[in-house]
């Protein structure tokens, strides 16, 4: 059978064998949790606790500020020992609430469970907002915003993103295998809010067990499991929509422009917890892997847990890591230290050894066209990058630099080791900065 997919892209070695068969384990609580107030795209939350306050698990410690923002909750019970700037995975110091765990892990007052059938759509949306649900695929876009499409953009399709196309990562895979009922409950909530006609779960064909399990579980529901070709970046929203329902999101547009809402399966499970149990987003499943690690694992991690703790739980390192990546190897961010905390967008933590760090010297572009063929946005990475290196941003924009989804396929495939996506990102920032100024 021809599996569905999108044109372009490539297939890096997936390296999922290290953790794909490891059941989800609970990561023990650390002594201190560093909970950043900005863990989502949009305005960071505003702290509503002070040093010395005792907090309970699930209690709001930062309030949402603005529409594209969500509150932040205490991941466990304990004492607030600092409200200050701390190193953040984004690479600089940002406001955070630091909690010393009391070991009780006692729940605070949680909102009452909602009955999906009886609750109004507004109540459901409000619950998703108040529980701090954000997109957990890594982009951390507040979920309630996606679930509030304007009236003139009718939504008829819901797509659950279970693709997990980044190499090494297996967190979504384990979630689908072990906790599919959470996903199915979440789907019911999403279907009610959006009033969709059809629902798909897109899963890459390298997870046949998850495809089979969910297909069986969805047999009676109006949910279709769509096996997808193993190809990166199959999990990119627009590429996923094209593969599942053959609709192309217009350049500069959003999925809602073609009547689709996409949610990651992890987000969907978190939505189920929020609605059916009143539990806010204070933990997530993350894959801890990479060749420098003793024992790769899939861990259920409290938000705010320092990365060092995750490494310890996985038996520590075999060799000194040369590169620490939060997220996947294609789009994740390198980290300066293991002292930064896991956040809502932490889908993985990867430790690489020195021999895996590519330090090949850049060569001249030989115009081989590999980046052009791999680009899922169908732009010319080498041309745009060449303009970007000369600071010719108008030309870069004319060559559709802003359509770049920063998947990194171009840099990955470049035989001359040119940092193509990095140059394009630089051009995008310059173009957007100029637009803001005008």
């Amino acid at each position: 059978m021809q599996l569905k997919t999108f044109p372009g892209g490539l297939h890096p070695p997936d390296n999922k064998q290290w953790s794909a068969h490891k059941p989800i384990e609970d990561c023990p609580l650390p002594e201190e949790l560093i909970v950043p107030l900005g863990q989502h795209i949009g305005a960071p939350a505003v702290p509503c606790v002070a040093v010395g306050d005792l907090v309970k698990r699930g209690q709001v410690i930062g309030e949402a500020k603005g529409f594209v923002s969500v509150p932040v909750h205490a991941p466990t019970s304990g004492e607030v020992i600092a409200v200050e700037d701390r190193p953040h995975p984004m690479g600089r110091d940002l406001p955070a609430v630091v909690i010393r765990a009391d070991g009780e892990d006692a729940w605070g007052d949680l909102p009452a469970p909602l009955d999906i059938a009886a609750a109004t759509i507004d109540e459901l949306r409000q619950r998703i907002l108040s529980c701090g649900i954000v997109g957990m695929g890594g982009a951390t876009f507040p979920a309630h915003v996606k679930l509030s499409p304007p009236d003139e953009k009718p939504i008829d399709t819901l797509i659950l993103n279970g693709v997990e196309c980044e190499p090494f990562l297996t967190a979504d895979h384990r979630l689908m295998l072990e906790e599919s009922e959470r996903i199915l409950s979440g789907i019911a909530v999403l279907q009610k809010i959006l009033g969709v006609r059809q629902t798909f779960i897109g899963i890459e064909a390298n997870k046949p067990d998850a495809i089979e399990l969910l297909s069986r579980a969805c047999a009676d529901l109006s949910v279709e499991v769509t096996p997808l070709e193993v190809k990166y970046p199959q999990g990119a929203e627009k590429q996923l929509i094209l593969a599942c329902v053959d609709r192309e999101v217009p350049s500069g547009g959003l999925p809602m422009d073609v009547g689709v809402v996409v949610q990651n399966v992890g987000t969907c499970a978190a939505i189920a917890d929020a609605v059916l149990r009143g539990i806010p987003l204070i933990e997530r499943i993350a894959t801890i892997s990479g060749p420098a690690l003793v024992e790769p694992k899939n861990l259920r991690v409290r938000i705010g847990t320092p990365l060092r703790k995750l490494v310890e739980v996985c038996g520590g390192t075999r060799v000194e890591p040369a590169k620490i990546i939060m997220g996947g190897p294609m789009m994740g961010m390198t980290q300066l230290s293991l002292e930064v905390p896991a956040i809502r967008g932490t889908s993985g933590l990867l430790l690489f050894t020195a021999d895996q760090v590519s330090t090949r010297p850049e060569g001249p572009c030989i115009r081989c066209g590999r980046c052009v063929r791999a680009c899922p946005a169908h732009i010319l990475p080498t041309t745009i990058a060449a303009y970007a290196r000369l600071d010719l941003f108008e030309e870069a924009e004319a060559y559709n630099a802003l359509d770049c989804i920063e998947c990194g396929c171009c840099t990955y495939s470049c035989p001359a080791a040119l940092p193509l996506v990095q140059s394009i990102r630089y051009a995008k920032n310059a173009i957007l900065a100029k637009r803001r100024k005008v």
Partner: protein, 329 residues
């Protein structure tokens, strides 16, 4: 630990593909054709191959030294240009002609433009055409194939394309026994430049490159298909004056050009659609020059002319960007 950590922006992985690996693969792919040339034309062929290759590497090294550029002999591109140049020369090329060819290819057609990646024209083809125009006698003194010959005193013969052209010019019709030589053409028993004689060896090399994903099918297939269709039309109109498509495929430098010269990454389009346009253009020009031009062979001129059009082709064959919505009428 912190000062030993690498920081970089994503992606953190690469395919491991490298420029020198690509160049090496092309060199490997040329080995069958080079081996056939040495078998057919003997020691002189080997000497020409060695002079061109070593001289190209030497000129590259000297240029990089004089121009203060980083030394990049390891990328294999100079060696590849040297081999391609040799394969474009007659076996009996005098040593000084090989030397001049290497100089033109590396110094004039490549390094002066900025080195690898910046040259607009295929260096080996520039050198071949310069030599063809400057030394027409030496460049068209074809050695007759004499397997495993060690002698430098060779019997000369015309190329099949040259014979066909001459016959049409003198008698107004092709020689009658044209098709008789197809088996020899396929295996390489014909006069011609080193690398164009064996269709079999070139096909093997070309398919190897496609299999290894060094090149894509776009350029060779569109090039060869265009030659077959376009020359086929003339052949159908008047089969006594115009050779059939198979003759075009098997003789001259067409296969060498289609698989190894028109696919030169630096000087040809980067987009798949651009490669198709490029191949079609090469095919049309090749047939036109072969049938109506002053030279019996047109591959080099066709590819160089299309090299000149490459920036234009790239501009007009940009892929339709994802999410491109045409203006609604």
């Amino acid at each position: 630990m912190a000062n030993q950590l690498y920081l970089s922006s994503s992606p953190h992985f690469s395919s491991g593909e490298s420029t020198d690996r690509l160049m090496r693969q092309v060199i490997y792919a040329l080995l069958p054709a080079a081996a056939v040339s040495v078998y057919m034309f003997g020691l002189p062929a080997l000497v020409t191959l060695l002079i061109c290759t070593l001289a190209s590497i030497g000129f590259e090294a000297v240029c990089q030294k004089l121009m203060g550029r980083p030394r990049t002999l390891g990328d294999g591109s100079a060696a590849l240009t040297g081999i391609l140049l040799a394969l474009n020369l007659p076996a009996s090329s005098p040593w000084w002609m090989s030397l001049i060819g290497a100089f033109v290819a590396i110094v004039i057609a490549k390094q002066i433009y900025g080195g690898l990646g910046y040259n607009p024209f295929n260096p080996a083809l520039v050198a071949r055409v310069v030599l063809l125009i400057s030394f027409p006698v030496q460049m068209t003194r074809w050695t007759a194939p004499a397997p495993l010959s060690l002698s430098f005193d060779s019997v000369t013969s015309a190329t099949p394309l040259g014979q066909a052209k001459e016959a049409v010019m003198l008698h107004g019709a092709l020689p009658a026994d044209l098709a008789a030589g197809f088996g020899d053409f396929f295996l390489g028993r014909m006069g011609g430049s080193l690398g164009e004689v064996s269709a079999l060896a070139l096909l093997l090399g070309g398919l190897y490159l496609i299999w290894k994903k060094v090149i894509t099918w776009h350029t060779p297939v569109s090039y060869l298909a265009t030659v077959v269709v376009f020359s086929g039309i003339f052949w159908l109109v008047d089969g006594t004056r115009y050779p059939d498509p198979l003759f075009h495929l098997l003789t001259g430098g067409l296969l060498l050009g289609a698989f190894f010269m028109a696919t030169d990454m630096v000087t040809t389009p980067v987009t798949p659609r651009g490669m198709l346009v490029f191949g079609v253009g090469c095919g049309l020009l090749t047939v036109l020059i072969r049938l109506f031009g002053g030279y019996p062979e047109g591959v080099s001129f066709a590819i160089l002319l299309m090299n000149a059009a490459t920036p234009l082709i790239d501009r007009y064959t940009q892929p339709k960007k994802f999410g491109f919505v045409p203006e609604k009428a």
